[in-house]
């Protein structure tokens, strides 16, 4: 196969009517790559203040058929989950990401909520994960794979619940890349999720729940420090 490699590269250089780039030009290009230079970023989200950004995230996510519940503290999360599952007529069985930060949530506060930690298996109906950041520009969740954050949770169950803290909402995808680079580099998989699974393959009618989750529910926690519980408006 290396013969193919050499021939393809030689063919490219022949077509471009030059040889291999000289060392100086290669260094220039490597520097260009390493600079992580942003191209034009739309003003839509970049120009907003913190509350405006969170509001835009909610508006855009709801625009693509995700549902959003806003609560004012982590303590209110189990109640919000239980209420959502009851309203959707779903079983109170959750598979949770083995994400240590989810331990902060007092799941026992709702004893009827049965939880398991791990990756998703066939038959799991509801998963709950956190996200890496949330992107206001298009109401997109950015999730990354890792030992504590298995990818299967994002795709196998019929219902995916995502916990988002308001301070995780960034303006643009570029903010997500920056955050990733300061946080340990490229994971195996990055999933940008914008609304539930859908297809338009039959007569261009949009149907939700093609192969991935039929429902994407976002629980947005306004203040991660606040100890009191209760649902905010």
């Amino acid at each position: 196969m290396s013969e193919a490699r050499e021939q393809i590269l030689a063919g490219i250089r022949r077509s471009l009517k030059r040889g291999r780039l000289d060392a100086a030009r290669e260094t220039e290009l490597r520097d260009r790559v390493a600079a992580h230079r942003r191209n034009l970023v739309p003003a839509r989200a970049a120009a907003l203040d913190d509350p405006g950004r969170v509001d835009l995230f909610v508006e855009m996510a709801e625009g693509v058929q995700a549902t959003v519940a806003r609560v004012n503290s982590p303590a209110a999360v189990p109640e919000a989950v239980a209420r959502y599952l009851a309203a959707e007529n779903l079983p109170a069985d959750l598979v949770l990401a083995p994400d240590l930060s989810l331990d902060d949530i007092l799941w026992d506060a709702r004893p009827l909520l049965r939880t398991r930690r791990g990756r998703a298996e066939a038959g799991d109906t509801v998963s709950l994960t956190r996200c890496f950041v949330a992107i206001a520009e298009t109401g997109t969740l950015m999730l990354i794979s890792g030992a504590e954050t298995p990818t299967t949770l994002n795709f196998l169950p019929d219902t995916h619940i995502v916990l988002v803290y308001a301070d995780q909402v960034v303006a643009t995808y570029e903010d997500g890349w920056d955050r990733l680079r300061t946080d340990g580099g490229m994971p195996r998989a990055i999933n940008f999720i914008t609304g539930p699974s859908r297809t338009g393959d039959i007569e261009q009618r949009i149907e939700l729940g093609a192969h991935g989750p039929r429902r994407l529910h976002i629980i947005l926690v306004d203040d991660r420090q606040k100890a009191t519980d209760g649902e905010s408006k």
Binding site: V33, A43, R119, P150, F155, W177, T199, D201, I202
Partner: protein, 476 residues
């Protein structure tokens, strides 16, 4: 895949006479263009982003050897492998070798036009490996043994009744009395049938919308989530892709992603955009143990530096075909190979030769819509003209056509004669058609008058009227 582009005229005629196809195309004509227009209106920066996207792609193509090596270096660093393939045969051989190395029996596939281009399914099936298309549209056409008719909506040529019929014929284990009247029921049935296949697969094959040189990543964009199940569940993930999908950085990919969904379906962003870098990491509970990229050339490197280099900017969004009056009339199958619409009319002759695909660049009204909606500003009409010129230069058109063109050129190069003949013809036709004002039939012009009337000329040519006016005369 075997091409039938030579038979474009017959294919197109069959398309025009196909009622289901015409109903399906009518849905497309109103759907995609309107949704795209609304999405573009919501993003004031759209036009500037097109210009930037074009320059990103041009920059990458000018330094393609460098970025390919950088990409490979980073794939290897993340634990993946790159397989370079000059031809469809080499690409298939690489995939087959990987499948054999893990004794694969079932392969699931996300949507990949490169896999179509190299005829991967046939090759795997011939070697005893079951391949299962998982994109709903691809699944439907796989059951029907049809090629895709559109870049992003492969079953766009079908109505839901036809899909229901196919499912009844193929899903024999299900209750024959079940209702399949609604798209919802068809989606649910496909979901239920395909879920166990996802879980049983040994190898998952996806395409790539972009490759990122700086990180060695592949990016797929889907709405269904099938691509993610395909690449997450099996032990091996193979990315089938081609040289020109490369961009330098994540930031560059981001700019293109902002244009892709808006141009394609009119969405702000597709449901799932996934960036994959190498295989499963230590401690991971899921994800593939092997990550392979099969990198296909198949004539692309030869397009660099020439009049068709711009075509390599294409990001396969389908906006050109969604806005094309010819595509909307005859459908994608008429084009007779993998790629259809205006991008197919330019790319197909590049990849399988103008002798086979010469009809395609001729099937254009030159309305220019394709170029005006292209997110990376590919001058599609100009390139179709290049192909027409090359076809003529290589003497591939029929003799009568060539003789006609030569005669016309001979006359057109002699202005005095040309004007005299035009003046004569318009006077004669004007006089002959003076009663009715139009012609139902005309000798030598049946191609025109078979489907519409030819309006009779006013009796004078534009040139003579203009000359008269400039000389101070009056125009009636």
């Amino acid at each position: 895949m075997l091409a039938t582009s030579r038979a474009f005229e017959a294919n197109a005629r069959a398309g025009l006479a196909n009622d289901n196809l015409q109903r399906a195309l009518a849905l497309m004509r109103t759907g995609f263009p309107q949704r795209r227009r609304l999405a573009v209106e919501r993003l004031p920066e759209f036009e500037v982003l097109r210009e930037i996207a074009k320059s990103i792609k041009d920059h990458t193509l000018e330094h393609l050897d460098f970025y390919l090596e950088l990409f490979e270096e980073n794939v290897l660093a993340s634990g993946g492998q790159v397989h370079w393939a000059r031809s469809p045969d080499e690409a298939c051989a690489a995939v087959l070798a990987i499948c054999r190395s893990v004794d694969a029996r079932i392969v699931t596939k996300g949507k990949s036009m490169i896999a179509e281009e190299v005829g991967l399914n046939e090759r795997l099936e011939k070697n005893g490996i079951t391949t299962v298309e998982t994109d709903l549209g691809e699944y439907i056409i796989q059951l029907r043994h049809e090629p895709p008719s559109h870049l992003i909506a492969p079953a766009i040529h079908l109505m839901k009744e036809q899909v229901a019929e196919t499912f009844r014929a193929e899903h024999l284990a299900l209750d024959p009395e079940r209702s399949l009247a609604e798209a919802r029921q068809l989606c649910d049935e496909a979901r239920a049938v395909l879920r166990p296949r996802f879980l049983a697969a040994d190898v998952g094959i996806t395409g790539a919308n972009f490759l990122v040189a700086s990180t060695g990543s592949s990016i797929i964009v889907t709405n269904e989530g099938n691509g993610d199940l395909t690449q997450t569940l099996p032990r091996v993930h193979i990315v089938m892709t081609s040289l020109e999908k490369l961009v330098p950085t994540l930031e560059d990919a981001t700019t293109l992603l902002r244009l892709l969904a808006r141009s394609a379906t009119g969405q702000e962003f597709s449901s799932y955009t996934t960036v994959s870098t190498g295989p499963r990491r230590p401690g991971d509970l899921d994800g593939p143990e092997q990550y392979h990229v099969v990198l296909l050339d198949n004539g692309r490197s030869a397009l660099l530096g020439g009049e068709f280099q711009d075509m390599l900017r294409c990001i396969r969004c389908s906006a050109c075909m969604n806005h094309c009056p010819v595509y909307a009339a005859v459908g994608g199958h008429a084009y007779g190979w993998v790629y259809s619409g205006p991008m197919g009319a330019v790319l197909t002759p590049s990849l399988i030769g103008v002798a086979e695909a010469g009809h395609l660049p001729n099937a254009s009204t030159f309305c220019g819509q394709c170029e005006s909606v292209c997110p990376v500003k590919i001058p599609l009409p100009k390139m179709m003209r290049h192909w027409r010129e090359r076809e003529f230069a290589e003497k591939l058109n029929p003799p009568v056509y060539r003789a006609g063109l030569s005669l016309w050129a001979w006359v057109a190069k002699r202005p005095a004669l040309y004007h005299a003949l035009v003046e004569l013809a318009s006077r004669a036709l004007g006089w002959l058609g003076r009663g009715r004002g139009r012609f139902r039939t005309l000798p030598l012009a049946n191609g025109w008058t078979a489907v519409r009337d030819l309006p009779a000329p006013e009796g004078r040519s534009f040139h003579s009227l203009w000359a008269e006016r400039r000389n101070g005369g009056t125009v009636k």
